[in-house]
Symmetry: C2
Subunit: 171 residues, 2 copies
């Protein structure tokens, strides 16, 4: 909570806001799977999608592709193995690596989900357009922070004695 960036719009914390947004989207997707009688969870999407696109991937490759830690991928790996949707094998070229692939059952499910995923994607694009490009804005936000971190910007502002600051206005 209390993550403000920047904190306007009624002072709603952006962190909680972002999380609520993503939770909402996931919940709606989960609801669609249920409505279509498909035993699937949106949080598996990334791994299943990547394996459908790339045949076989390691835990660390998936982590990089999905932008999460290898631990999160490992946790999803365990859930998908339990449901027999993927399988793993040792990498003959590197004993440290595990190669994940879709099982026959997993491929079948991905095929089944194809139309729904396509429609989800179309709907997501539509909403993003209406919102004026959230994804692009987020990419720019990441780039801006990479260029100069928030902490560095704050330090610059605190070290600028000549500049006259507006009166304090917390939000």
């Amino acid at each position: 909570m209390s993550r403000d960036f920047p904190s306007r719009s009624g002072g709603a914390a952006i962190g909680a806001r972002l999380r609520r947004l993503s939770d909402r989207i996931d919940r709606e997707a989960d609801g669609l799977y249920s409505a279509f009688g498909i035993d699937f969870e949106q949080r598996w999407f990334g791994v299943m999608n990547q394996l459908a696109l790339n045949k076989a991937m390691s835990v660390s490759d998936l982590a990089t592709a999905l932008g999460v830690t290898h631990v999160a991928v490992s946790q999803t790996r365990a859930a998908l193995i339990a449901r027999k949707l993927i399988s793993t094998a040792d990498d003959p070229g590197d004993a440290r690596r595990r190669v994940l692939t879709l099982s026959a059952q997993g491929r079948k499910l991905v095929k089944e989900l194809g139309l729904l995923w396509e429609a989800l994607n179309d709907a997501a694009r539509e909403v993003d357009r209406e919102a004026g490009g959230v994804a692009v804005a987020l990419a720019r936000l990441e780039a801006a922070l990479d260029k100069r971190s928030l902490a560095a910007r704050v330090r610059m502002k605190l070290d600028a004695p000549a500049k006259q600051r507006a009166p304090a206005s917390r939000i």
Copy 2:
């Protein structure tokens, strides 16, 4: 993980992305507090800020203002009471309610944090401008989803037999 909305930019899941962004911002702010020798956590900001602005507020008022559940506020309340930054009292007009206020120590800390918060806010606005208005885009995203949910949009797309769809393109 695997939350795609929409899923491009290397397929990074927007959910994880949003969370990483907010975690990053919080961590940078926490780092600044440490650098200035101030025992404070960015996650308390919302509650402390609201109490500084509004004198006294109930748990549910804070929850509404901050856009989180009352449970999250209650959890923060406990942490801030443990650190003697706020205090609570019964509401004479409604025995169900607890009124939270800044303690003397809390007011002193808020005063101490004033300049840093202001600089943080300026930096946040600056980054938001460079990113092309993330907060505004997020507000529009919420509004678009309120207008028509993602699930409703998906259903419309699946129920559109006349429209010819492009070949399946998972991302």
